[in-house]
Symmetry: C2
Subunit: 359 residues, 2 copies
């Protein structure tokens, strides 16, 4: 007999990016940081013994939240730590959206959002981005017309890498009657000279929730750690009611705290990624690719008109280089390429030159 | 403005057992294993470097599931690995129970079940256990009368420690029209001479789901690892649709596999706990306490008639020993005491002797 709920029977699961086992593959398909976590995290890892794992971990990750509060100049009441960003996104629906309510995204976006909506049983509306990947001017008005309870926006946007300025988001948040979630998974790679920050929004507005993750900026995708930043009225019900009681483990809390406490190392990796992003952009452009201006750790490279993105994806894969190809309208001419190390990026360009016959 | 869903606003969160920071406290309140994980796990932990954490972990924990499949003589399709037992319990509701359906528990039980039901928005029915902690003979019939979609049973039962024999559970599962979840969090501490096993139920019935955890038997509460065992038709929707896409992390998967692959060490800890359980039972009995026969790693000790359990709880706490006291009808005369090491148990008995004035 099938015991599944109707919405679960009807839905399709999330398709994770390829995670091949081969250690020699150049993996530029799932936006990991190309550099491992630094010496402070390595030292914290060495200090952990199995005896520390015998007992339950701190249920609300207080020590880590204290480090985060200091970093962001906020109170621990403004912070909830989650088992990866996925958990936070799911908690937002579980806490704030009734199954008969509607959520919205700007299209295209992270495909997990629609999987989460389907699992929760709520409706998902899609508002198309402008052709330059910016948000439509009437975005908030349209959310309100649709009766949207919660809206997910990724900023910098994925898969384009385009950054929406903070004042644009503030205007949307002030007009919008629901909860605005700003998924800042890639925020650490924004050029610091832009002085971009949405942090003041969570201090003044009670409907803005910012997501941050350790997966990209802090090189800890393998650990599953992320956090939400928002007004205490948004954070508390997730912290004390809807998250699993011990949702993050002792090792992950310890290493994440070490990573946060060593900002200098993390910033060094972000700077390397930005330098390589510039280099890769120039090289791709020389090969006839075009890309929107990315403030993220990936580039959405549109292939030259006479070429097929899927053919190039397969050609790179045959050369031991994985990038991301989306069979999605509007993206079928592009490859999303994560920024690797200088050596990896060089190999990518050489492989593309070979495939394009221009080496 | 309050954006919470109505059911979330109305509910109370789960109250975790006290997790004090003081390293010298004797902690017999949350049923952790008194022995740390063994040398195989310690060695696996030593082998992990930060470079392994840079990439996303295997999304379905395949290597660990292969070890589990071998241990239980099942297919990996019968196994889903979760971020602690809490995640599996929540997934069961998210996957199989509509918010307007009903679930049931045998009362008293793990207080998290009612928190999960409140967060999910479904109704929870309670069927009282007999005075000897056994299930009522008409349990399945009552579930069917109530229209129960899913029933949680802890076996061995918490907080009594009493084991329900497998044939009793099989009869219930065959009669019951919904999903029967057997929460075996404490199963590793059952006396092997009883030859108790419910594993044949998941091979023959498509409505039985068994929960196992690494928190107790494998001394890894700090890691948050558990797994569900059931027919592929029950496991698949959780594996591929409702669980977070990367729900368990690389370190946790690696250490859990090492723990499973070293059964001899884990069994040694279980044997120690059983020996200490016998010793503690005899000592408590000599002090005038009575307890149902426990097959778990705790004892539900009813205090002598003339004493107050709450006073004893506070007295022990003042002596640096934490046990669990429940302000719940039917349990207010009892203390739930986790089995510690021989030294810890000796100190508990000495402290009780002092408090009872019988030293």
């Amino acid at each position: 007999m099938n015991y599944e709920r109707e919405n679960i029977q009807a839905m399709h699961g999330y398709e994770p990016g390829e995670q091949p086992d081969q250690p020699d593959i150049i993996k530029l398909n799932t936006n990991e940081n190309p550099y491992p976590a630094g010496p402070a995290v390595a030292s914290a890892l060495k200090g952990i013994t199995v005896d520390k794992l015998r007992r339950y971990p701190p249920p609300t990750a207080m020590a880590l939240r204290q480090s985060l509060a200091q970093l962001h100049n906020l109170s621990t009441d403004n912070l909830v730590v989650t088992n990866g960003g996925d958990e936070l996104l799911r908690l937002l629906l579980a806490t704030f959206v009734e199954p008969d309510e509607r959520i919205a995204i700007a299209e295209p976006s992270y495909s997990l959002y629609e999987v989460l909506a389907a699992a929760h049983g709520c409706a998902l509306d899609r508002i198309a981005l402008n052709s330059d990947w910016s948000l439509p001017a009437d975005f908030a008005a349209r959310l309100n017309q649709l009766g949207t309870k919660l809206c997910f926006l990724v900023n910098p946007h994925a898969p384009s890498g385009v950054l929406t300025p903070a004042p644009v988001l503030e205007k949307i948040a002030r007009e919008f009657h629901g909860v605005l979630v700003i998924d800042e998974a890639y925020i650490d790679f924004v050029d610091p000279s832009l002085q971009h920050s949405c942090m003041s929004l969570v201090r003044t507005l009670d409907n803005v929730l910012i997501l941050r993750t350790f997966s990209k900026g802090y090189s800890l995708a393998g650990l599953r750690m992320a956090y939400g930043i928002g007004a205490a009225s948004l954070i508390n019900p997730m912290q004390y009611k809807t998250k699993d009681s011990y949702n993050t483990d002792f090792i992950a809390q310890t290493l994440a705290k070490a990573a946060i406490d060593d900002q200098a190392y993390a910033r060094w990796t972000w700077e390397q990624v930005r330098e390589q992003r510039s280099w890769l952009n120039a090289q791709l452009s020389a090969l006839g690719f075009s890309a929107p201006p990315s403030q993220s750790n990936f580039i959405l490279a549109k292939v030259p008109d006479n070429l097929s993105a899927e053919t190039l994806y397969n050609g790179l894969k045959a050369s031991g280089i994985l990038v991301r190809y989306f069979r999605i309208p509007g993206l079928e001419k592009s490859l999303r390429i994560s920024i690797g190390t200088a050596q990896e990026n060089q190999k990518l360009i050489s492989a593309l030159q070979a495939l394009l016959g221009s080496s």
